[in-house]
C-alpha cells in the first residue's frame, strides 16, 4: 500500500518519462507516428497471405457480427500480442538503458519500466483506434463494446507491466534474459491462437483424448497460457461483438492481478541494489 502511494506521487515523473519516449521515438523521421502502424500492417499482410491464401485457415464467422474477413480477425488478436511483445522488450531493457540515470539520481525506479509500458500503450491505443474504424467499415457494430475493450486493454497492460517489472530486474542481473525472451516470445505467439483459431486445437485435442490415460486433454494444457484468454477476450469483443466467455474474463483478471503483484514484489525487493549492480 505504502509503495502504491509512492508510485502515485511519482505520477508526474511517470508521465514525463512516457512523453520522453513517445516524443523522442519518431523524431527526425518523415512519417513520424505513422511508423508505429507500419509494423502491425506488415505482419498482417504476411500472415494473411500465408495463412489465409496459402494454408487456407478459416476462422469461424463472427457471431453475431457476421464478419468473415481473415485480415481483420487476425488483427483483433495480433495487435494485443504485438503490444505484449513490445511491453516485454522495451520494459525489460528500461533499467539497463537508463543505467546512467539510475546511478546518478534518486527516484522511484519503478517508473522506468512503467514509462515504457505507457509509451508502448500509447502506440497501441492508436493501432486499436484504427482497427475499430476498420471493423466499423467492414460492418461490425463495435462502438457499444468500446468501454469493455478499454477495460480489457488495461488488464493486458497490467499483466504486461508485471512481466516487464520482473524481466527488467532479471536483465540487470543476467543480460541473457533479453536474448532468451526474444526466442520465447516467438514460441509464445505460435502457442497462442493469434494466427489460427482455437477450434483447430479443440478438434485435434478431441482426437488425441486424455494425456497418458488421464482426463486432462491437450486443450486443458493449452489453456494454461494466459494469452489464450486475452486473445479470446479481444476477439469476442471486437470481432464477434458479444459478451466474452466468463471463464476468459475471470482468467484475465486473475492473471493480470497475480502477475502484477508478483512483479511488484520482485521489483521492490531488488530495487535498492540496482545502482550497484548495473
Amino acid at each position: 500500500m505504502h509503495y502504491l502511494k509512492e508510485l502515485f506521487s511519482a505520477r508526474e515523473l511517470l508521465l514525463n518519462l512516457t512523453l520522453r519516449e513517445v516524443r523522442g521515438k519518431y523524431k527526425r523521421t518523415v512519417f513520424g507516428q505513422l511508423w508505429s502502424l507500419a509494423n502491425p500492417l506488415a505482419s498482417m499482410l504476411v500472415y494473411t497471405l500465408v495463412f489465409s491464401f496459402i494454408l487456407r485457415i478459416k476462422p469461424d464467422v463472427g457471431d453475431p457480427s457476421g464478419l468473415n474477413v481473415f485480415a481483420v480477425w487476425l488483427l483483433c488478436g495480433l495487435l494485443p500480442f504485438i503490444f505484449l511483445t513490445n511491453v516485454i522488450n522495451d520494459g525489460m531493457g528500461s533499467l539497463v538503458n537508463n543505467a546512467n540515470l539510475v546511478q546518478k539520481v534518486y527516484f522511484t525506479r519503478i517508473v522506468l519500466p512503467l514509462a515504457m509500458v505507457g509509451a508502448v500503450g500509447f502506440n497501441w491505443l492508436i493501432e486499436m483506434g484504427v482497427l475499430i474504424v476498420a471493423l466499423t467499415i467492414v460492418g461490425a457494430w463495435v462502438i457499444p463494446w468500446i468501454p469493455l475493450v478499454l477495460v480489457a486493454m488495461v488488464l493486458l497492460a497490467v499483466f504486461g507491466s508485471g512481466l516487464a517489472l520482473m524481466l527488467a530486474v532479471a536483465n540487470v542481473h543476467f543480460r541473457d534474459t533479453q536474448y532468451f525472451m526474444s526466442i520465447l516470445l516467438q514460441i509464445w505467439m505460435y502457442l497462442t491462437p493469434v494466427i489460427y483459431p482455437v477450434s483447430l486445437v479443440e478438434s485435434k485435442s478431441r482426437e488425441f483424448g486424455g494425456i497418458l490415460g488421464t482426463n486432462i486433454t491437450v486443450l486443458d494444457v493449452y489453456k494454461l497460457n494466459p494469452m489464450e484468454h486475452f486473445v479470446g477476450l479481444f476477439r469476442a469483443l471486437l470481432y464477434d461483438n458479444r459478451w466474452p466467455d466468463p471463464q476468459d474474463m475471470i482468467a484475465c483478471v486473475l492473471w493480470a492481478v497475480g502477475i502484477f503483484a508478483l512483479g511488484l514484489w520482485v521489483f521492490r525487493r531488488t530495487e535498492k541494489g540496482l545502482a550497484e549492480i548495473l
Binding site: 508526474e12 514525463n16 518519462l17 527526425r28 537508463n98 539520481v105 534518486y106 543476467f174 541473457d176
Partner: protein
Amino acid sequence: MTDVAVSVEHVGKKFRLYSERNQSLKSAIMRGRRSVHQEFWALNDVSFEVPVGSTFGLIGSNGSGKSTLLKCLAKIYYPNRGRIVANGKFAALLEVGSGFHPELSGRENIFLNGSILGMTKKEITHKFDEIVEFSGVEKFIDQPVKNYSSGMFVRLGFSVAINVNPDILIVDEVLAVGDAEFQEKCQVKFAQLKKAGRTVILVSHDMVQVRKMCDTVAWLKNGDLVTVGEAEQTIAAYTDSLQGEEP
C-alpha cells in the same frame, strides 16, 4: 533535534570485488555456485552531523570514499551498516543534465529533468523563466539540446538542479561548469541558498573553493573518517598530511 539537517550514524558500505562474476546465466550454472568475491569496505563506521543552514564539505584523496558517501546520502546506494537520517527534502546534483533527451528541445528537457529531480509541474512552470535566465540559453530554448554546445548543455542542467530548491542540496564536483561568468553566478546562487537557510553538502578537490564556501569539513581517508570540524583547521590538517606524504 531540529537543528540537524542530516545525521550520519555509523555508516558502513561494503562492495564486492568480483574475481569471477556470474554476469551470464551460463557462468552461473556452469560454476554451480554463486560467485567468487572479496569484500571491500568503502566506508567504515562514519558518523557526523550536518547542522541546518551550514555548508558542509567532504574532502579526501581519490578513493577515500567521498563519492560513495555522497551516493549514500543521495539514496542511490544504501549503507550496509548504520543509517542516514535526513530532515527535509533533498536534491542531489551528482551529474548535470541527468535524463536529458538529445532530440528534445531545451524547454521539454527542463520539464523532464525537473520532474526527475523531484519537482512538480507547477513548480517548474513557476520557476521556468528563472531557470532559463540563469542558464543563459534563452535564444535556443526551443532547439533540440543535441545542438547545444557542451557549455550550454551543462549550464542548462545546472540551472534546473539549482532551482529545485531543496532543504538539503548534495553536490558532487559539478561546480566547475561553464565559463568564469557562469561560475560567478553559481557562487552568488550558493550564497543566496545559504542565506535562505538551506543546507549544502559538497565534495570537492579544490581547497580554495572549499575554504571559501564551507563552514564545516569532514576529511575521509580510505573509508575512515579522520576528523570532522571547523573548515580552516581540517583543511590545514589535510594539506599538511599531503605534504608529509610527498616531500
